[in-house]
Structure formats: C-alpha cells, structure tokens
Symmetry: C2
Subunit: 799 residues, 2 copies
C-alpha cells in the first residue's frame, strides 16, 4: 500500500482520558438533542419518567446520519479551538438536520438568531417542538439553518458547493460531509474532480469526509459494499489521499478521528504553505480526504421488534415508530434517550454544563456562526466599468451585424480585470464557442493538472485563471452557487438546450432564495446567479434537433416572482445594459437569453439603456402608425425573433402601403405578466396602451409560443394575440429554413398580419401569393446550396 | 502493478502482415469517408485534382474523434468474424457520426436502408452531400443512423444506455465508446458503477472503451491530464480491469488493439462461462475495460497555418477551414485526403475493394445492422394480467382510503412474474418509500455486490432481482432508455420534485422518438418510457418546500404531441387502468401522476376503465345539475385536487342548496388541448359541451395553475376559467395547511364558487364568513396539534 494512505489500524491516542470523556459527553449531548427533536413535545430533559403524552403526535425526522455528522462536528471543534481554524461545515447527507441543529444550539448561536428558542430548557423544548412540525423547521438543512449554505433537500451538490465556497477564500477550510447515498448521484460522482481546479495558494481547502454509514432509505449503498481496496483505489484515482476511520466503539473511534483529523489538517497546512511559498509554480497536490465508516443510526436502538435497526437502513428515519401506542416501545425509547445520560450533560437550567461548553469554539469561530455561511453579509459590490465604454457603435439601426456575446466579452474582460478575487466566469467547455473568449486577454482558464506547451494557444490554461471550464453543468452550477452563497459573484454561460441539465439545481436554488429572502431575516442578500443562455435554438440549425430547446424559460416562470428575472436583449448594446444590471443585483436568478452568432444591431447605447430599463417599448422608427391607433401590433422578444419581425414590417411597408403597424419589443419577459403577479408586471392599463384593447397582435417569440399565452391569458386583448414561436420542429436546416418550419420567419409573419387585418386581406391576395412563393423558394435554395439566399443572410433595414 | 492490468508495453503481434495491412486499409477507407463527408460536394474519389468547386460552401462536422472510433469498429469486426460475436456499438463522443456513418456505408447496410445513397460512387457522393447539410443528416448519431440506439446530441448517457441494452441480452456484447469529454459529466461519472447491477449469467456484457483523445471543444480533458497511475486507480476503483492501448503509430497500435481486444473478449467469455456454470452463486466479476489513448484528429493535418491541429483541440471540428478561399489550404486538404490512398481502397464503381469488404461481418452480424439497434423490431408484447383481478373493491364512492401505488404494486407484481426477462421496475432507492414494495414478493432488488445476512429484510437483494435501485435518476433513466430502445419494457417510479433531475434526458428521448416515429421509416416502434411520478407535492408537507415541485408537466407539454402523454388518475382503479394502458403502448413517454399516501377512492374498476378511456368526464354522482345547464362547473385533475374539489361540492350542497354544480374530472391532461393541437385533444364543440360556453369554471389542478391556462387559452369559455394550483408556497405544513396556502383547499374553492356565481353571492355572505373561519381554524389547529383536524383527515363523501 502506498504510504500516503492511512487506515489508522494502529491506535494513536491524541486525546487524554479527560478530554476523551468530555468530547464523548459533548457528542452524547448532540445525539440526545437529535433524538429529542424527533420525539419529544414535553419533558425535554427527562426530569420525569417518559410518558406517552410527552411524545409528538406525528413522528418525523431523520436519525440515521445524525450521530456520524455530529461526530465530525465535535472533532472539528477541537482543532478549531486548538489552531484557530476557520471552518465551514457542509452537510451533504440530505436529511440530517438534527445534527446541525443540535450543534448550533449547543454553541449558543441558534438562540442568538432565534431568541425564542433560547439556550435553556424552555428553548430546548421549543426547538424540539418546532422540528419537523407544521409552521416549524425542516428535517434537512434549509435556509433557516444557521451555519449552512447547503440545501440538503436534493442530493448531489455538497462537494461542488464546498469547492465553490473555498474558491478565493484562502483562509477557509470547508469540511464537506458527503453522504454515501448522495455519492451515487451523477453530480456528486464527478464533483470529486473539482480538485483539478482548486489552487492551494489562493483558494481555501476542502476536506471531503465520505460518511460511509452503509445505507440509503431502504438499500445498502454501493460504496459500502465494494472491497476496501477498491474504495481506496477509487479515491486515489480521483486524486485524493484517503484516510480511513472505521469502527463502532466510541472510545476507539474518538481517538482515531482525532488522530486522522489532526493529520489531515496538518497535510492541508503543509500543502498550502508549500504552494504559498512559491505561488508561481503551483501544482496539484494530493489533498487528504476521510472515509468515515460508522454504523447508520450509531448509538441508537440495536433492534426494534426483533428487527435490526442500528447499522441498518431501518434507522434512516424514526427507529421506534409506535412509542405512543406501545408501552414496550415507550420504554425502549426512554432507555435510548437515557443512555446519553442527559442529567450529566445539562445543568439545572437546561444549558450544556460549563466544562462541555468550553469545548466549543467562540464567536465567529463557532461553525454555526461562521461568517461565510451568511455570505451575503460579506458581499461587496463589484468594481464595475461603465458599459458606455464598451458600446457597439454603428451609424444606422438594423444595418450592421455583430456577435452580441463577443461584445459582451469586452465588457466582462474588464469586470474580471477589476475584480480578480471576487468574480468568476463559468462555462462547460464553451466559453470560446460562445464567443466569450475575449476575456482570455486578462485571465486564462483555471487548470491545476498537467499542462503541455500547446496549452498556450487559444486561451491559456493557468493556475490562477478566472474562467472555470469543466464539461459538467452540474459542477459549474454547484461551484457558482457555493461562490455566491459565500458572497462572491459571477456569470455562467451555457448552451440553451443543455441548461435543462441543471433545471433541478435551478429549482432548488430559487427555492433557497425565496425562503432566505422572505422568511429568514438574518440572512443578508447574496449576489444573484446570472445565467447567460446562448447558442440559441434558431442558430442550432446545423447541430439539429437535439440542440434546439428553448424551454428552460417555462421552468423559470414557475418559480416565485420574488427571485426570478428573464431578459431577452435584442442586440449587443441591450445585452450590455442587461448584463450590467444583473451583475448589480442580489437574491435573484437572472436568466439572459442572447445568441453568439452575428446579429443585426438596433439601438445605440443610450437608447438601449432606456429600452432595457423600461423592459418593453414601442420602437417608433420601426412603426408606421405615427402614434395613432394602429391596424396591427407586431411584437417580438428575442434577437432572432426581433430581426424577422422587423423584416416582416419592411415587407408590409412595401406591399401594404397604408397599413398602420405598431412595433413592440420586449426585453424583460415578466413585463407581460400583470403587476399583481410579478414585481416587473405591467398594469392592465399600461399593457392595453401598448398592445391595444382590440387590435390583432402578431407576437414573434424566441421560445415556445404557449409561454406568452401563459403569461398574458388574462389580458384584455388576449383573444387577439397570435404568437409565433418554436414548435419543436427542426433537423439539419439553414437558419431561415428553421424559422420557416416553425413559422417565425418574416414571410409567415407578414401573411399572418394580412390574414388578421380584414381591411387589407382582400387587396393583399397577390402579396400573399408572393409571400408563399418566397417561402417555397427559400427552402428550395437552402436545400440546393446548403446556405440561405443572400437577401436573407444579409438582410438589413431599408429606412 | 496488479497482474490483471495490462499496458501491453511488450508488443504482441496477433496480426500477420497481410491482415495488418488490410485492417489498416479498411481503417483508411473509414477515415477517407469521414473527411469526405465534411468537405466534398463533388469529385468524391479524387479521380481529378481537387478544385475549390468540389468543396462544400458551408463546412460543418466533427473530425476529432472519428479516426479513434473507426479504429475500434474495425478491430471489433475482426473478432466478430472470428468468433461470431453479437456486438452493439454505442458511440459516446457526441459528434462523431462520420465514423459510424462511414462504417455503416462500408458494410453496405447504409445503402440497404437508404437505397438512394447507394454503395457506389454516386451513393458515396450523396452521403457526402447529405452530411451536415440542410435537409440531410446530422453530425452526431441521430435516429437516422443505422446501428445506433444512442443519441449523441447530449453527452453523458453512453454507458447507462449500454448497460440498459445489455440487461437480459445474455448473448450481446455492447462496445461502449466513452468520450473523455463526456466522461466529465456527472451522469457518466456515476454510470461506471452500473457493473454492480449486471449479472454475468443472465445479462450480456458491456465493454467500455474510454477514448482518451485528450481534448474537448477547446480544452484538454481532465482524465487525459492526470498521472497514469491515478487513471488506473480510478478504473480499478470503479471495479474494472483497465487495459491500456496507447500510441499514435498505426501499425503498432493495430497490433496492440488487436491483442487487447482479444484478451478482453476472452475475459468476458471466461467470466460468463464461469457464472453460467453456477448461476446461483454469481458474484461481481472484475469486467475488463479499455483505455484507448490516441491523438485527437489522428491521421489528420499535424499543423494548419502554423498551429498544432492533430493531437489538439483544434482538430475537434473542421481542421482546415479556408480550403475554398486559400489555395494553400486546398492543397493541404487534397494531400490529407490522398494520404489515405483512395485509389487503393475503392474500385471503379466506388465500392470498397473485395479483399477489404471481406473484413466486415455479414448480415445481422454487421455492427451497423445489429438487430438490437432497431429494438422495436424485437419488441414483444408483455404477457399482461387482467387489471380487474387487481381492482380495489369498496362499497360507496369516496368513503374509503387506500394507497393508489400500493394497489398498483399488486398488479405490477404479476406483470413482473409473467415477464421475468423482459420487464424491469426502476426507482432511485424509493420503491419501498413509494409503496411499490409489494412487488418484492416475486422479485428482489438487483445487487451484484457484497451482501450481508440482514439484506434479506424488506425486499431482498438478489443477483437476479427485477427491481433496479440506485440513487441516480440519471443512471436509471439511462438504463431504462437503453432497455426500451432494444425492445424491452419497464416502469420508472420517482419522486415528483426530483424528476426534474432528468428533464434534459426526457427532452432528448422525446426528440429521438419524434424523429424515429415520423421521419425514420425503418425504425420499428419501441416500447414507451413509463414514468410514474409520485410522492406528490401535496403530501410533501412534512419534507417541505424543496420536495414540492410539480413543474415537470410544463417540460413535457413542450414536446411533440406525437410522443407525450400525461395522466392524472384520481384514484387506485384509475391508476390501474392508466398503467395497464401505458404498458401496452409504444413510442411514447407516458407520464403518470399518482400519490403514494392513502387517498379516497371513487370509481369501481368498470367505471374507472370507462372514465380513463374517455380521459375526461362529468361525474354525475358528484354533480347537482341533473344534466341541465349548471350554474358553475367544478373541475379537477389529480388525486388530491379531486378530493378537495369534491369536499367543496359537499359544502356547497349543504350551504347553497339550489346551486347547480357540474363536476368534471380530467385524467388525460391533453384532452384540454384542441384536437388540432394534440391527438388526444377535444374539439371545441366537445370542450364547450363539458365546460359550457359561459359559466364559471373553478378548476382545481394538481400542478401550477398556469399550465391549465396554457392548454386552454383559446377555448370559448376560457375567460371564465379560474384555476387553482400550486403557487410555490410551502414549508413544513400539514397537508391541509399546504392546500390552504396555495388555495386548492375545499374552503377556498367554495368561496371562489360563491364569488363567481352572482345569483348566490348575495345570499351566501354568511356562508363565506363561515368558510373563512374554517380556514383560520384549520391552520390554528394544525400549528397547535401538528396534524390536521379529524374532519379533514377523515373526510368522506356524505351521499
């Protein structure tokens, strides 16, 4: 066996008997509180015999991983005190909140932020009663949980969150407890590779602790049922030095854990010291990690009704279910609770006895009070350049093409340059593909692995690069969430079709924000998650059907209006204005939809700022109604949708000369909702003033048409709204053919206008025929030549 | 080093010089065709000097991984012929279709199914021109690609698809080429653990071949930049015996690959023979896998314009971009093409010369013609029991509670028993939690890892179990897709909130089905993916906000109506009827929404069958309009939504005695769409006959209310539709409190009815006050007692 693997088979004994006894007592207090939360509604300190009336009417909560998690916490406490460490605790095992809550309460911090759940018997009972009870707190680590940045509801993200928190926090050690159930998820399985992106000189450390307690809800875990050597190989293969702490005898295990943790912290410090002495020549170290193998439900009942419980999946939730109805079970529960000897742990007032209290760190060194866990309080505004210095200049609207994301890159480059330790750009191997590679001029791509001379070409790999690229949307989103939840900022650019990969992560983060913002007063606002959705459906004609999916917006619109924003800037200057705004916000998920290909440009910087601030507007220069009541409203949202809508206007101007068209562009999608539904919503009156009360509205939309109907169904003029959008039709096409088969092209729009305006329908029969012929001709040309006709590819506005 | 790891450093030479030369020539033919697809629109065999007119106007396609993939394919061919192997090829590297297409064409199968792209010079040119061209075929393995079951558009699923294909196909060897970019995704990273679920006696084999070509789009890959020992440890840790084939000299590499592949196939055969001799005592073998390290863009241009291309990410797509405009580039392209010596490979007619053709297997042994790749053709109907034998019996509608999924389990148990080699049940550690554990009576949980005596308790682990449990929705969905795409059947039960984890996989599978069904005539229909969405939002009151997300339906409704179905059975017998129907369908994704908790039962089996066949219906027994025009329509979809709507009717019957209520229940959600939009849609006339043209409709919906509006916005009576649904509000609640805060509870519904029916609004002021008091009282009780009031928890229908 390699010498940097330790199984601690020889018993090291760093703890003297007194300290050992105290640590064990502290741990018993944690476990007692965890059981109390699950069961007790009265008699919290068992000062009287346990009666059925003391038991909650509905038993909920998760016992299984609590003792192991508390075990880690109390041992971290010892070294925090000894070495003045700055430790953030991330609890991966989903429903193990009792451990975190117990420790927070014992450290006094819980009562500081929830004074009603005071640090005494009365407060203890209030905590017990609130736990997993209606109107109370959850059984996993929710935003209400002090010391936590990690939502334990959905599994798989503890390690990526931990690395995100450690980035650019050189002083921080993130103790990441990874559940062995969670370890089976894909996102977790690849996030071990995050060590190839952590710079020991400038970032903090992550100490992963795989909690191998053997079981999930009702099954063994894979990693607990493979040979020891295989497990060791796996973590060595992931690049770690695994240390094994295995057993079930508390006394022995305390010594093993104390010795192992000492060694790991020493190794981390040595790695960091080495790197920081020579930061120019950082290489990837073999970071330590711990495999902690303890029984599930450790110290709980060994058997219940003749069935194995401790060290088995039956201890996952509530080990003894019928304590109210079954006197024997009640007695077993009482014996279990009393096995922790609460009378030795808590004083008359119900406070942890003083000698044990002294084991916990103080002030902000308490894990539960670590400032990084309330990262909003550490948040600093970005040093932002003036977007006007990055404006795309042109003479005439709709006459010049450029790539909006390439323009954005020039701005982001300066944002990065000015905020070298607090802003990162995330992308799954697509930063260059998405035309954001302009940022490489100030910073390369983070890479703490082997390099070759050729890596200098095209965006250098660098140990201190600010661009985070890994082909895992899950890991990137997890890093980004960990980064913002600890107060720093960034932007994540990704292909539109594949942002669905992180739908569920988006959902969970939005839920975290909603609770943190509206119900957890002590949490300071955190920077927003900024998602730049690019490589859009309408320019995935060459990649085909699999790359065409603009449906993420539907997922976003289901979340609370308090926390979600959607922007569809029609051109580069609008994209700049929107990005500038988003980077200044907090507590949102901002979704920005903007393509990377060259697109027509419409608004100069000043107009773009005004237009984006309004979020919706009538473009007079593209309208023909001269402020009067129009015959028809042509509306659009999205860059490509806007270009086709404008081209339709131009056709109609030429062919239907007396048609009065109002041209409306929507940047801020939630303007479409009523103001009663979303803070950005328009009043019905304002909406009517733009879309009229009774004129046909032809709406060209970037995404699925039904989304516009979902947002506008109760508007006065909704019956006249005819929305064109992606219809789930595509293959290998030209861009224009793709537009045609989904009905968002200029010709189809023009036909629709003619059909909807009775006044001109009759006189325009000839025009309609011409339009239909254009469609046929365009498709024929595309199939023969493999590209769109020149007049399509190079179309510009005539006026 | 362990002796079961081979680096083939000593050169074994299983190929004699003649065979070596032939294999190399065949491989050159593959590579020539791959380059031809990307570049040529004329002069396919270079019979004349290459001119700019011969080059496509738009250069698209992916060269980088093609040579390596073809290299694998041609070496598989040798052993298929020698040993009569049955090999399915799964191409993981996303955009490497040219390799698959080239081989399919060389085997003649491509021309058999696409006669127009014939096996001669004319057909070759047609293939070249169709590739990545409008109206043609994609640059990744789409449904149009023969021999493929794997959509290469989104990365991460090649290995789970491969294992799904191998399950219950004991004769099959799935050669799974895993891209090293793809290997960074979470879903791929955990799917290596699929080996803990593959039974060597009764399943086929998967031979993973990690194609370490070093680069993604614009970055190195992680696995290519870690030390060799670390890489070896990683795959040993995943439980494989890794074999390394590394180099760039074709001659040496042919010998290495031939030797290694021989050894792997021999190991697979030995493992299988051993297990099949003693199937009762199967243990997990250490399956072989290959790490194939070759240069990206192998055999392509080494440099272009002074920049490294071969063995670098610049060979990912089109290595020489300006062959039309730059004569030097044109010359370089010509030299590259001629380096494969096409004149030695193809005869006068443009067919592969006979001596090389003899290298390919014949008939269905050709990889491109493997029958499993068109699994629909192998599809057999399930042996289905009669659902009436599993009906839940009761005397009176809405008087008895039972768990719908527990009833379903009795039926699924028999489905499993009758279809022991062609049906599997999938679930992420939740089969028991979702109350489907009744199936364990006939079959346990698949587990090819270590076991303990206690594993017998509660659904035994078993080497031949038909229940697939791993805590990875990605892996399960991937297995399931691989299983159905090779013609077998199953059902996947998962928590509603976390089905979002596989949103993107669902999208991609739905897109595959849409294309296969509507545009690929030779693909036979495959069994449907059946998703049972359970542990529903309204009973996640105790798990809290993170577990409350019914939004998957929004994602589903964006996909093509040809391939998606959504059912919300209101009770157990309806669930049976819906499940029975879904298991008989093909080419759909069927989404069934049904909770696991005890719920009121409404319809006997016969009525349930009729109701579900209609998909929507008026429940006369719950209506008070006696067939006349009602004052109000109360509609509902979903089990909990239905119960609350019924309770509202009962309240209104008692308090507003002359109110005429029509009660409508929706099972088949797409009935709400117009028949022009979905095959299950209702005509406007039928819709109006149910929902009236002008009466208020109070619609209690399981999911977000806006989805009903999205589906019904253009209905006659839409302005009168008032939808109640999940409003993204919840925490730790009781079920009824959760209903109240989202407005789907009986009291809120009754108030809404009163408000919407002017005739009774005045006379019901007192009732409204009473209803409001009920709401206040319910919440107060829930917070004090931790449970709902008896009259809520035990509510049954009075009539």
């Amino acid at each position: 066996m390699n010498d940097d693997v330790t199984r601690t088979t020889a018993l090291e004994t760093p703890l003297d008997p007194d300290l050992l006894a105290k640590i064990d007592a502290y741990w018993r207090a944690c476990n007692y509180l965890s059981v109390g939360m699950i069961y007790l509604r009265a008699n919290p300190l068992l000062r009287e015999p346990l009666e059925r009336e003391h038991i909650k009417r509905r038993l909920l909560g998760h016992w299984g991983s609590d003792p192991g998690q508390s075990f880690v916490w109390v041992h971290l406490n010892r070294l925090i005190k000894r070495d003045d460490l700055n430790v953030l605790f991330v609890s991966g095992p989903g429903h193990g909140a009792p451990a975190t809550l117990a420790n927070s309460w014992l450290e006094g911090h819980y009562s500081e932020i929830y004074p009603d759940r005071s640090f005494d018997e009365r407060g203890m009972l209030k905590l017990f009663r609130a736990f997993s009870s209606p109107g109370g707190i959850g059984s996993h680590c929710t935003p209400e949980t002090p010391g936590s940045i990690h939502e334990g509801g959905e599994l798989g993200y503890s390690l990526s969150h931990s690395f995100g928190a450690a980035f650019d926090n050189p002083d921080l050690i993130v103790a990441a407890v990874v559940g062995d159930g969670e370890a089976e998820t894909g996102p977790l399985a690849t996030s071990w590779h995050s060590n190839k992106f952590l710079n020991p000189a400038t970032d903090g450390a992550v100490l992963p602790i795989l909690h191998l307690n053997g079981y999930k809800i009702a099954n063994p875990t894979i990693l607990a049922r493979i040979p020891h050597d295989e497990l060791e190989d796996l973590f060595r293969g992931y690049g770690y030095a695994p240390h094994f702490v295995e057993g079930d005898d508390p006394e022995t295990m305390h010594q093993r854990m104390a010795a192992t943790l000492e060694r790991c912290i020493a190794d981390i410090r040595a790695i960091q010291a080495n790197a920081r002495a020579n930061p120019e020549n950082v290489t990837r170290p073999r970071w330590p990690m711990i495999v902690l193998r303890t029984p599930k439900g450790w110290t709980g009942p060994k058997e219940v009704d003749g069935r194995k419980v401790e060290d088995y999946w039956r201890s996952h939730q509530v080990p003894i279910a019928d304590a109210v109805s079954n006197p024997r079970s009640l007695a077993q529960l009482e014996a279990w609770l009393r096995s922790y000897k609460p009378e030795e742990l808590f004083d008359e007032d119900g406070r942890l006895i003083e000698p044990l209290r002294a084991l916990a760190p103080e002030g902000t060194r308490r894990i539960s009070a670590n400032p990084h866990a309330n990262g909003g309080a550490l948040r600093q505004s970005l040093d932002m350049p003036d977007i006007r210095d990055y404006a795309f200049e042109f003479k005439r609207a709709a006459s010049v093409y450029t790539s909006p994301t390439a323009v954005l890159a020039t701005f982001l480059r300066e944002v990065i340059r000015r905020n070298m330790t607090s802003f990162r750009l995330f992308g799954p191997d697509e930063t260059a593909s998405n035309k954001l590679d302009g940022v490489y001029e100030v910073s390369g791509k983070r890479w703490i692995a082997q390099t070759l001379p050729e890596d200098e070409d095209g965006g250098a790999l660098s140990v201190d690069g600010r661009v985070m690229e890994m082909l895992s949307e899950h890991t990137l989103e997890g890093w980004f969430e960990g980064y913002v939840l600890t107060g720093r900022q960034g932007l994540f650019a990704t292909y539109e079709a594949f942002v669905h990969v992180i739908d569920s992560m988006f959902n969970q983060h939005a839920k975290w924000l909603e609770k943190a913002k509206t119900e957890v007063g002590w949490r300071a606002p955190v920077p927003s998650i900024n998602l730049l959705i690019t490589s859009l459906v309408w320019r995935q004609d060459h990649n085909g059907f699999t790359h065409q999916d603009p449906g993420f917006l539907d997922v976003v619109t289901n979340k609370s209006p308090n926390v979600v924003r959607i922007y569809l800037p029609p051109d580069a200057n609008c994209l700049l204005s929107v990005a500038d705004h988003c980077l200044r916000t907090h507590d949102y998920v901002n979704v920005i939809v903007a393509d990377k290909q060259p697109h027509l440009q419409y608004l100069n910087m000043q107009d773009a700022i005004v237009h984006c601030a309004k979020g919706i507007g009538i473009w007079d220069w593209a309208s023909t109604d001269q402020g009067a009541e129009p015959d028809v409203v042509i509306a659009c949202a999205g860059d490509i949708a806007t270009m086709e809508a404008l081209a339709a206007v131009e056709i109609l101007k030429a062919h239907c000369t007396d048609l009065k068209i109002r041209f409306v562009n929507v940047v801020d999608l939630f303007r479409l909702l009523p103001d009663t539904e979303h803070p950005h919503g328009l009043s019905h009156r304002d909406f009517d003033s733009i879309f009229t009360r009774d004129k046909p509205v032809i709406f060209n939309f970037h995404s699925y048409a039904s989304l516009v109907h979902k947002l506008t169904y109760n508007r006065t003029n909704h019956a006249n709204m005819h929305v064109h959008g992606y219809r789930e039709r595509g293959n290998i096409n030209t861009p224009f053919e793709l537009a045609i088969i989904n009905g968002v092209d200029r010709y189809t729009l023009a036909i629709d206008v003619i059909d909807r305006v009775p006044r001109i329908a009759g006189s325009s029969a000839h025009t309609k025929e011409w339009l239909k012929n254009q469609i046929i001709e365009s498709v024929r040309y595309a199939h023969e030549e493999g590209i769109d006709r020149d007049e399509i590819r190079e179309w510009t506005w005539k006026d």
